[in-house]
């Protein structure tokens, strides 16, 4: 298995090639651009036999993916931030149409003020679109995740689009050693797409996306929910199978790091899990029993797995790299809702950090854990806010 040093974005582009994607439609946006640039190069060189459509906007990028997926092609696009918001109407359409499109979202904050740096508000803005939402920690995981995402999305019991999130710049532009799986391995794992049951066929005409009156609409939505339930099972199985083939299994729906005997856990998504793990190692060397629960998937939300992972903990610190003004923590609210009916539930503390690319260090995570272990109100704490000391 060749080992290369590539950026997270290049890792995604190689995954697209390995997955033998047939149609790519894209519009550039920082920090996503180098993904589609690399794919365009692979297509031009003939290394990937695909149609690369240079569309005039993200809205059209997703529309073209919808057309292509409905026509039976394996389809990919990538975007970030404003681009995801601009295509969001079509993102919902793809979810509702149950088309197994895979999209990389290189997470970037939302303007104004303009910011090209990382946070997670872009992907959370389309949280309810009916997409599976994966979150990578490393370039290697981003690559593996894209390949896994096609298997999950195209599973006949699932048939939902999947979004692979990777942190802007932290993952997209940082270079890491990555093991590239052999093409044969991927081909075995991800065979050429079997005919989708609903793809367009001139000899068997059907109407796709027609009007459903109140007698039917709700059942379509119910089926989406069923598909999400099914996706949770498929994600676990697919990750195990990938582990058998490549030696890399990522934990299924979530990764629990040093959680078995932990008193306190940090719950988060994305690349800064590495910093949190380092903080946990340091804390443990000082006798603080801490762990990290990194959600690999937020849709379907791994509620049962989360309950299992935090069982026995007295406190959980949820660190959001996003803000829902007026709530304000998206992930913490979801974690609380997942734990609400647990028999023994830990105190859930909510932290907002890293918005717009604000740096968060292992030291910050140490303080988050220490703060969570103290008695105090369960309010939201902002980390690194200039001129304000939260503790």
């Amino acid at each position: 298995m060749p080992r290369v040093v590539v950026s997270g974005n290049e890792a995604v582009a190689f995954a697209v090639k390995l997955a033998r994607v047939q149609v790519v439609a894209a519009y550039p946006i920082t920090p996503q651009t180098t993904i589609v640039e690399k794919i365009a190069e692979l297509v031009e060189k003939g290394e990937l036999k695909a149609r690369f459509i240079n569309v005039e906007s993200e809205h059209s990028a997703m529309a073209a993916c919808i057309g292509a997926a409905a026509g039976g092609a394996r389809t990919f696009t990538a975007t970030s931030s404003q681009g995801l918001l601009y295509m969001s109407e079509m993102v919902f359409w793809a979810g509702g149409a149950r088309l197994p499109i895979v999209m990389a979202v290189v997470n970037r904050s939302i303007a104004p003020p303009w910011s090209i740096w990382c946070d997670h508000n872009d992907a959370f803005a389309v949280r309810d679109a009916g997409w599976i939402q994966f979150w990578a920690e490393s370039a290697q995981e981003a690559m593996d995740m894209v390949i896994q995402a096609y298997r999950v999305a195209e599973d006949e019991g699932v048939l939902l689009p999947a979004m692979v999130n990777l942190d802007g710049f932290y993952l997209s532009h940082a270079y890491e050693p990555v093991e590239v799986p052999e093409q044969q391995t991927v081909d075995r794992f991800l065979p050429e797409k079997t005919p989708a049951p609903y793809r367009i066929d001139v000899d068997k005409p059907m109407s796709y996306g027609t009007i459903a009156n109140p007698d039917y609409y709700m059942e379509f939505r119910w089926k989406m929910q069923r598909a999400m339930d099914e996706a949770a099972r498929v994600i676990r199985e697919v990750d195990e199978e990938w582990g058998r083939l490549t030696g890399r299994s990522w934990g299924g729906l979530l990764e629990a790091y040093r959680c078995d005997d932990a008193d306190v856990g940090i719950v988060l998504i994305g690349s800064w899990a590495g910093d949190a793990k380092e903080a946990v190692d340091r804390l443990r060397s000082r006798g603080v029993r801490a762990g990290v629960v990194r959600l690999r998937v937020t849709r379907p939300f791994p509620a049962r797995e989360l309950r299992d992972a935090v069982e026995g903990m007295s406190a959980v610190a949820v660190v959001d790299r996003s803000l829902s003004p007026g709530l304000p923590s998206v992930l913490a609210a979801e974690v609380k809702s997942a734990l609400f009916n647990a028999k023994r539930r830990p105190v859930v503390r909510s932290f907002i950090a890293g918005l717009g690319g604000r740096d968060v260090s292992p030291k910050d995570f140490e303080r988050i854990v220490e703060c969570s272990l103290k008695e105090g109100p369960e309010e939201v704490t902002w980390i690194g806010l200039r001129g304000v000391t939260p503790w």
Binding site: Q22, V23, A25, R51, I53, N54, V55, E56, S57, H59, S60, A61, A63, A64, C65, I66, G67, A68, A69, A70, G71, G72, A73, T75, E89, M90, W93, I200, D201, V202, K204, P205, M206, S207, Y208, G209, T210, I211, A212, N213, Y216
Partner: protein, 305 residues
């Protein structure tokens, strides 16, 4: 020249659909089906046709039909075409969009697909307002026309969509009218015989929105052409040529008086009140300048650019 007898007797748009009485879009869809003998895929953005096709789980369409969001049809057709090509399926992909979905909200995607010269046929059925949402003005509504959002008559001119598309230097652009079905069928067939982006702008008089009796749809369409308010032409590889009934109407003296067309429609009734003379003039100017552009192109051997 196609004759009625040469058209298939087969119907590809079944009766019992949900169109208004006298609906021009359903007439157009019927002719489109016959023109391509049912071997094509339709892409339909939001609009009257979304409703005409009726409700799940039934549909009157005997060709596959991909519904898509309002602004997205040309891009969705692009992706669909690419997928069919990969599967070795060579049937036309046809967008069927209203004037709103074409000249307004869908213009960006249309322009993108035209610039890329995608191998699709884009048909705009132009009923000159957002008729599906209840008769609001569009970029294609003629000046002076009453709509619910221009209660005193539209004060702006209209976008000349066929020329906007032609400026992308695509291989084929044409105008047509539901009142001249054989001309339309011929243009559809010619369009799909070419590779690349094709565009047909189909004039579609709407009894509901234009305020005329549903039995007069075809008659009103014919009057639009005979008075010169609508012009039939095609632009093949950048060269314009008048077609059908319009071919002999370059000379204004040969056209029927415009009032014969306007007075049959409630949406123009207010134009004949003295205080609205300016609006009527604006409409006449709009029509005349359209003809002037055609005349000057013809003087250059039909070259439009």
């Amino acid at each position: 020249m196609v004759t009625v007898k040469q058209l298939p007797r087969e119907e590809y748009w079944l009766p019992g659909h949900a169109a208004c009485p006298g609906c021009p879009a359903s007439l157009g869809l019927r002719m489109l089906g016959k023109a391509l003998e049912g071997r094509f895929v339709l892409v339909v953005p939001a609009g009257c046709t979304t409703v005409i096709q009726g409700m799940y789980p039934k549909t009157p369409s005997r060709v596959p039909l991909l519904n898509i969001a309002f602004a997205a049809s040309a891009a969705a057709a692009t992706g669909l075409r690419a997928a069919l090509e990969l599967r070795g399926i060579d049937v036309p992909v046809v967008v069927w969009a209203g004037d709103g979905g074409t000249v307004d909200i869908g213009l960006q995607a249309l322009s993108g697909a035209a610039e890329r010269n995608e191998d699709i046929l884009y048909i705009c059925y132009d009923n000159e307002a957002y008729q599906n949402t209840g008769i609001q003005r569009s970029g294609a509504t003629p000046p002076g026309a009453w709509t619910t959002t221009t209660p005193l008559g539209k004060r702006e001119r209209r976008k000349v969509a066929p020329l906007i598309v032609a400026a992308h230097r695509v291989p084929y652009v044409a105008t047509a009218s539901i009142a001249y079905p054989l001309d339309f069928v011929e243009k559809v067939r010619k369009a799909v015989s070419k590779r690349g982006f094709k565009y047909i702008h189909l004039h579609a008089p709407c009894p509901t929105g234009w305020r005329f009796p549903p039995s007069e749809t075809v008659e009103i369409g014919r009057l639009a052409v005979e008075t010169g308010a609508w012009v039939l032409y095609e632009i093949e590889d950048g060269v314009l040529r008048l077609t059908g009934r319009s071919a002999s109407l370059l000379d204004p003296a040969r056209r029927k008086p415009l009032e014969e067309y306007l007075k049959r429609q409630g949406r123009f009734a207010h134009l004949f009140r003295p205080e609205n003379e300016q609006l009527l003039e604006l409409l006449k100017m709009d029509i005349q300048e359209n003809w002037e552009a055609i005349r000057s192109a013809l003087e250059r051997g039909g070259r439009i650019l």
